[in-house]
């Protein structure tokens, strides 16, 4: 009796009727996530898992799903696709990083967008170094192509808008974000010395606000910025280090001081020196071991579905329809 009840339950779980409810649950979940406060799609993994189980059970209990080989392959692929997509939603790593020319990759500089609990946050420090960045524009803000060179050991890898770079399982894809970075050295009155890079907002997208705020060790907020180069509106131009501005302004309190590279500005608590200006390049960092398998499984499933549709619901029914068409004069001989 228990066995019969279980079989009935399994048949229902794997039935096409139940599949419709799971599909509706998936649709409702996606819509709810889309309009939810955080727009987080992690809950989508649940209906995907249920659909994967439902199809797997249906493959065993529902004879109709095995009635044609292409249909069976499509459903098996769909089940696997749901598992992989669910894993991708939960385990995918995604982050952003900006790297300055001539500096090595540092994992702590990655801004994590989403990551699995306990998962890795990026490749090892120094896995590569950012070399020259050149971005070609057709005129104004219309980007034509990006060339971002990475130095990986002795090898130079040139990335473009279409080509990312995979290191240690993490894929670095250039984004449309790039801009100027200022090398700053702080010499405090107490003898302390600190140095680092201050990234200005993306250029030329934010040409009109090439400033950023830095806080001195003493807690003073200082605005540091440059007057950016003029962006040609009509003719083609190239953004590279040669366009880097040489004049830097520093605003501390009510006082605004302009200095050139290498010059120092007196700020309450110490001296701020601007050593040089280079370009930073923005990357989207992703890690998704399921991605290649998703492509393979989806391709196989769609090919099988296409074959199933091409062959028709069943040969016998197709022949009957053809005969009807011929009788009605709807098919040209």
């Amino acid at each position: 009796m228990f066995r019969a009840a279980m079989m009935r339950a399994l048949r229902w779980i794997g039935s096409t009727r139940a599949a419709l409810w799971w599909l509706l649950a998936l649709i409702v979940t996606i819509v709810a996530c889309r309009f939810g406060p955080r727009e987080d799609y992690t809950p989508v993994a649940l209906p995907l898992a249920v659909i994967a189980v439902s199809i797997a059970v249906g493959m065993v209990t529902n004879r109709r799903m095995r009635s044609s080989l292409p249909l069976a392959v499509f459903h098996a692929s769909l089940s696997l696709l749901c598992v992989l997509a669910g894993l991708a939603v939960v385990w995918r790593f995604e982050g952003r990083v900006e790297i300055v020319e001539g500096t090595a990759f540092a994992p702590e500089s990655v801004e994590v967008v989403r990551a699995a609990p306990g998962g890795r946050q990026g490749p090892a420090a120094g896995a590569f170094e950012q070399a020259d960045v050149r971005v070609h524009f057709r005129g104004a803000l219309h980007r034509e192509r990006t060339e971002s060179v990475l130095q990986v050991g002795d090898r130079a890898v040139v990335l473009s808008d279409k080509e990312g770079f995979v290191v240690d399982g993490f894929r670095f894809a250039p984004t449309s974000n790039k801009g100027f970075a200022l090398a700053l050295t702080w010499r405090g009155d107490d003898g302390s010395v600190e140095s680092g890079w201050l990234h200005l907002p993306s250029f030329p997208a934010f040409e009109w606000k090439q400033e950023n705020v830095w806080q001195t060790p003493g807690g003073m907020r200082v605005t540091i910025g440059v007057v950016p180069p003029a962006v040609p509106q009509k003719e083609a131009w190239v953004l590279d280090r040669r366009l880097a501005p040489r004049a830097v302004h520093v605003i501390a309190g009510d006082e605004r001081t302009t200095t050139t590279l290498g010059g120092a500005v007196r700020v309450p608590g110490g001296k701020l020196q601007v050593d040089e200006v280079r370009l930073w390049m923005g990357y989207r960092v992703t890690r998704d071991p399921a991605a290649p398998w998703l492509f393979v499984v989806a391709s196989v499933g769609l090919a099988a579905l296409g074959l199933h549709v091409w062959r028709g619901p069943s040969r016998r029914r197709a022949v009957a329809l053809r005969e009807r068409e011929e009788t009605d004069g709807l098919v040209r001989s």
């Binding site: 599949a19 509706l24 996606i30 819509v31 279409k162 984004t175 989207r284 492509f295 499933g301 004069g329």
Partner: protein
């Protein structure tokens, strides 16, 4: 003045062609004698005009019709007409969809004529062979969906005789749309992986396209599982077409999503 701009002349000719074909088919239908070959030929001529308009724009701007609302409308008005003509050539069973299909084509054509024709440079990320696969699959999906929805609408309002052959045509078109949209999603994911460094980002256009595919999948399932009444299934299929139209011509132009194209 207008004649000095061959693109707009060709677009107007194409839209007029759809309008005349629609009127001809509708009036001939009322008199009981439809010259379907003539309607198909006129529609094919309109498609040729729109194809020529795309070629003129392409040669002048140096880029394909992939970006602005005008370009998407123009290329869709062309591709939907082409799919309809191809279906009519392959099987006369497609003929009963003519009135709603030509009505939609004429409406899209008028919309095309009403929007700005400014050229916006193509973003660097669009220069990718997968874009072609993605667009072709998308156009075939929308074409098949239009044929199915138009057939369903024609059968639902009872202006044509409901036969097994016509009903089968509607659902074969819906199944073909399901397959083509699947390929559209897959190729779009591959393109997005190269273009934006992620194959899926839940941006409004991706989400809308996925929802359209799922709603169509749910319809196909409901039809075999619940023996839906014909009117309900046909209404549902038309709902899928409305969703598809919103996905193609609404979402990308009314959202600030990255899918609109990062410049």
């Amino acid at each position: 003045m207008v004649w000095s701009d061959p693109e707009i002349v060709l677009v107007r000719a194409g839209v007029c062609g759809y309008g005349v074909a629609l009127a001809w088919h509708w009036l001939a239908g009322r008199r009981g004698g439809v010259s379907f070959r003539g309607v198909t030929a006129l529609t094919a001529a309109a498609v040729a005009c729109l194809g020529a308009a795309i070629a003129v724009r392409w040669s002048q701007s140096g880029q394909g019709p992939f970006l602005t609302l005008y370009e998407i409308l123009l290329s869709s008005t062309f591709s939907l007409g082409l799919v309809f003509v191809a279906a009519c050539v392959l099987t006369r069973a497609a003929g009963f969809t003519a009135t709603p299909v030509l009505g939609v084509l004429a409406a899209l054509g008028l919309w095309t004529l009403s929007v700005s024709r400014d050229v916006v440079p193509l973003p660097a990320t669009f220069d990718n062979p997968w874009l072609w696969v993605h667009l072709t699959a998308g156009k075939l999906f929308l074409g098949a969906c239009l044929l199915g929805a138009a057939g369903a609408a024609a059968l639902a309002v009872g202006r044509v005789t409901d036969t097994d052959v016509r009903d089968a045509f509607v659902w074969r078109a819906a199944l073909a749309a399901f397959v083509f949209e699947g390929f559209m999603l897959l190729s779009g994911a591959v393109w997005a992986q190269d273009a934006w460094g992620r194959y899926w980002g839940w941006d409004p256009l991706e989400t809308s396209a996925l929802l359209t595919w799922l709603v169509l999948g749910a319809l196909l399932h409901a039809r075999v599982s619940f023996a839906l009444p014909d009117w309900a299934a046909r209404l549902w299929l038309n709902g899928v077409f409305v969703l598809a139209v919103l996905t193609f011509f609404g979402v990308p132009f009314f959202s600030l999503a990255p899918h609109k194209g990062i410049v």
